[in-house]
């Protein structure tokens, strides 16, 4: 469904009491640290947008339309005279908020269903995995666009569409991890001690496998941002005049031939930088739990 390579299940997960003391703290991991700092700056800028810019992202000012970058307008203005830098910050605010919220439901649903499928096996596993096969049979963008179309454009539809499509990857990853982890001695011990299946899954298995899902979530957020921006570009996302990076690119592309290239370029670059920061965090996390296997 997506251009994401799944992390391979860690073959042997050491029980916590045997684990070596971690040689490196997270901030000593260059990829993780730089990714976290980069994302922190972007998120802070998006949240503090009203403090960072004196302009209103929505209010039109036709006297100042299509100005070139200057000290007053760092990235110039768009065809309706709105400050591009301001709309960029507010667009990041919109798109990041939607992406971070959108990833929660598929994460929880996928992890739960994946754990159940992996732990119990049998027909539950067969049914859930066929369900995964069916969702994966559709190209990611095709299903998202079709769902948003039938549900009607807007944020609510984006959340529903991403949830319906996104859970499958988490389910696959967690199922694979649980299949390996449930044969470990500590699980057998917990089972022979008479603990309930729910308790074993929640308290013993999940803490050992959840990291893989978190690592995947980093690239999943990137993919969701891309989907949100793409829907915005096609006019199926957040309705105007709310600033959204996708609709900004769409508005700006008409002015490419007149050298207003900054209108199209910078919203896209913002997405690239967000994607880079999340990829760095994901890679760093993977390195942290499996050193030397990058």
């Amino acid at each position: 469904m997506s251009a994401i390579s799944f992390p391979e299940p860690a073959v042997a997960i050491e029980p916590a009491e045997h684990a070596q003391p971690r040689p490196r703290r997270w901030y000593r991991q260059p990829a993780l640290a730089s990714g976290a700092i980069l994302l922190g700056i972007i998120v802070a800028a998006a949240i503090a947008a009203p403090l960072l810019t004196p302009y209103n992202p929505i209010k039109q000012n036709l006297n100042d339309s299509l100005l070139f970058p200057s000290a007053h307008h760092l990235l110039g203005t768009d065809q309706l005279g709105r400050d591009t830098f301001t709309r960029l910050l507010y667009g990041l605010r919109t798109d990041l908020r939607i992406a971070f919220i959108a990833v929660l439901a598929p994460f929880c649903i996928g992890v739960t269903l994946g754990s159940v499928a992996g732990y119990f096996g049998g027909w539950v596993d067969v049914v859930l995995m066929r369900l995964v096969d069916i969702v994966v049979a559709f190209p990611f963008y095709v299903l998202i666009i079709a769902l948003v179309f039938v549900l009607g454009p807007g944020q609510r539809s984006i959340y529903i569409a991403i949830t319906l499509v996104g859970w499958v990857s988490y389910a696959r990853i967690i199922r694979g991890e649980i299949l390996v982890a449930k044969r470990q001695e500590y699980v057998l011990a917990a089972r022979s001690a008479g603990l309930s299946a729910v308790r074993i899954m929640a308290r013993h298995l999940l803490p050992n496998v959840i990291t893989q899902a978190i690592i995947y979530a980093m690239s999943d957020i990137v993919q969701d941002i891309l989907a949100i921006v793409t829907l915005g570009y096609f006019g199926l996302g957040v309705p105007p005049p709310t600033a959204d990076l996708g609709s900004m690119i769409n508005d700006g592309q008409n002015f490419l031939p007149t050298s207003h290239w900054q209108l199209t370029t910078f919203p896209g670059l913002a997405v690239v930088v967000v994607g880079l920061s999340l990829s760095l965090i994901g890679d760093g996390l993977a390195d942290l739990i499996r050193p030397g296997q990058s």
Binding site: I134, L143, G152, L280
Partner: protein
Amino acid sequence: MTFVAQRLLMLVPVAIGVTIVVFFLIHLIPGDPARTILGIHATPQRIALLRKQWGLNRPLVSQYLLFMDRLAHGNLGQSLFYGTPARPLIIGRLPPTLWLIVYAAVLAIAISVPLATIAATRKDALRDHVVRVVPMLGLGMPPFWVGILLIYALALRVHAFPVSGYGTGFFGHLRSMFLPALTVAIALSPVVIRALRASMLNVLGAEYITTARSKGVPARRLFLRHVLRNAVIPAVTVLGINIGYLIGGTVIIENIFAIPGIGQLMINSIFRRDFPVVQGVTLVFGVLVVVVNLLADLSYAALDPRVRFDR
């Protein structure tokens, strides 16, 4: 049971599931689907007719059976915009899409193999680090944005390629579709580069490479005959896993470059609220992915005698 028979059998539940998903799309429409689709100006007669056509006043199961009966007869419904059957409309648009998919896959391999080679042959050297940053940047690039920038740089400024369209004849397609295919390939190659680099490193550490080296096989020959050949298989697998992404990317890119494929048909039909065509295209995309995956699996089995179900 043979591999082929098992693989075909596995296809049945997925194929049925795909039709169920496509069938249910209409029931996700809020309110009365017929009214919503036809818009506020539709006459009650028209709405009643559409409801009857789609069997909307019947029980859900019987609606699905009706839908399957139509599908079995190759009927994808009537386009509301054109007033003609949707099937020829969609089939007529397939060739440009298939062209784009194949072209993009070829370009993705052409980009990924050299870059992965550069990285893997000197692990942890500067060039390895540079190549490893490329996928990180690439994963976050919105494909339509890359397309727009390529049009600007290579078509509007330099005039090296046409701005849009499908072109005529084999070489016309090759030229016109270069930028769109390159865009899809750029979106795809991050994953392929990563996988290829990892599998090359794996192969380089294998015993048969050490053996070949100690026999005195020249470096160039060693790389081409022993490393690359064995490393490409996993990379093609990754390409196969991401075939859905590749095919989905064409929807977006066709619209940027005005290529008359089914992706453009889908987006156009969305704006015309032509539900039957959107539904039909969604189904065709699903079938396309399923078929390509099947072909990929079967060709593995044919190429590699170790591939069997009971691994």
